[in-house]
Subunit: 140 residues, 2 copies
DNA sequence: ATAGCAGTTGATAATAATTATTATTTAGGA
DNA sequence: TCCTAAATAATAATTATTATCAACTGCTAT
């Protein structure tokens, strides 16, 4: 948490109470939150904070790599603190994101892409479905 | 092309001139087109066609599997005629999508997911970057 | 052929998610 | 403490898409 704030000021960005709260909310959650969900939680702590501020800072934080934006197949984008490179199993029931320990950009796939001469900028691997808890819940 | 039309009528959907034109546009392009781009091309052929009709039909066609919607990391969704399950190298320069012959949902990754008890609904693997042509263009 | 009707369309309003604008405020260095 | 660039709140604007609804049209059965 302090590390995150340092990252901000190291780049010349100011540490504002709004940014503290946004980061607070993000680090308190283990889910992928949408901008709206983040804004709601932020407002529970400090009602005066504007949605625009939340969006602005989510963009900034994503840009400097503090968090990452996940564009799901449907619905709004979701955000999480960036804990290194990761892919996730995203549950459509509860929104929870289970870390997948592996990345498809390796082995055969990596080789094929390299051989094609394509210059990779970024990649996304997203699996949606239902976690065990939500599978059980559906059967009730 | 005729096959696509048959697929429509087989399911009880009508073959309208609008749908013919939309499918025409899609089969004439090898790129992933956005709804707006599709609508533009459609209007070049028949100016009276409404954007709403384009969206409505893109949804329908995607639903019945004639085409697939690709939610890129940024910008609007893009569509292409569905030629089986595929992943792509999407060029940020020219928008072209190069088919990647492989799918990451196999082997080790598939096993890990199965063992986690997660029930997969869908998956997306998207690689963005620059194709060889656009790399060359950038160096000019 | 043609009548009928479900399916479809065009026009447009509405919505959802996000970004831009702008006047005001503030964090952090001099 | 003062100053200034950066940041904020409020809100308008934008972008992408979906909903609404009256009018129209493929298709099927007569």
């Amino acid at each position: 948490m302090t590390g995150l704030l340092n990252k901000l000021s190291a780049r010349g960005y100011k540490i504002t109470p709004q940014r503290r709260i946004i980061l607070q909310v993000l680090s308190d959650s283990d889910k992928h939150l949408s901008a709206e969900e983040i804004a709601d939680k932020v407002k529970q702590i400090e009602p005066g904070i504007s949605v625009a501020t939340v969006y602005r800072n989510l963009n900034l934080l994503a840009e400097i790599g503090i968090l990452s934006r996940l564009n799901l197949h449907e619905g709004p984008a979701r955000y999480e603190l960036n804990q290194g490179h990761n892919h996730h199993l995203v549950c459509l029931g509860c929104g929870n994101a289970i870390k997948l320990g592996v990345c498809p950009m390796q082995g055969e796939i990596k080789k094929i892409i390299e051989e094609s001469g394509f210059e990779v900028d970024s990649h996304h691997f997203e699996i949606t479905g239902y976690c065990q808890k939500c599978q059980a819940r559906q059967k009730l």
